[in-house]
Symmetry: C2
Subunit: 159 residues, 2 copies
Amino acid sequence: MSDGSHLHGAAIQDFYPEDVAVCFGCGRLNEHGHHVRSFWDGEQATATFRPEPFHEAITGIVYGGLLASLLDCHTVGTGAAALYAAAGRPLGSAPAVRCVTGRLEVDFLAPTPLGPVLQLRAWPVEVGARKVVVEGELTADDVVTVRCRTIAVRLPDRS
Amino acid sequence: MSDGSHLHGAAIQDFYPEDVAVCFGCGRLNEHGHHVRSFWDGEQATATFRPEPFHEAITGIVYGGLLASLLDCHTVGTGAAALYAAAGRPLGSAPAVRCVTGRLEVDFLAPTPLGPVLQLRAWPVEVGARKVVVEGELTADDVVTVRCRTIAVRLPDRS
């Protein structure tokens, strides 16, 4: 994504203003981070992630804290996309919409195996003026292993 | 802690069996991990953590996904300690008690500034046979910025 002038191939996080694009979980400007990239289709957002071998909880099982943090970034990104959509605005149009996490609820339904690329999905269930409730899930080898519910809170606009 | 024969200076995670001591959040054997170490006083557990400069969410604010993962490890460790205590057993006595996370609820009450050492505290509120409900909080500069509630689930004993 070179200029933000079209949506094809752009993630929600590609439109975060620079000072809020440093997130360890999803910031494109954080060279140490996880770089979660969430793709919005108008109704839901999807992302993928391949854990590193050291991202374990117990041997062969992915660390739940990492999964929670991936879902955190993915769902708050989805919250921002939902706010653009609710306002009838194109993703990334000014003023930029950026949400942070007010509450995160994560249910670990089954162990997530280390190996396959993880699939993340999230969708808004309640869109307010400054608050979006987002639900999401994480799938490994076609099994939903984690579910979450996030309250995403919109940051004030900047000049 | 060289031999586990005394408790002075030992963290709950020091007693995790080797194959469940690889956790990215708290495993002593994970060289890339956060190495959360939780100290149990019989009623609650405390831990400290100093985030790296790149552990940001937005500039100057610690990444909430990291905070959730620190509280995850700290509260499930507290759950294990509470199960030892409920059985009247010394921490680390065989068979080893190790919990994993069933559910994690995190409330971000205020931004957590990047800079100060973070203080974590957790305490059991409901101790069952295989399940412990643990509450916890994270403090930065004497302000509680994050609260959590975790359902810790005991792993089956190993031979």
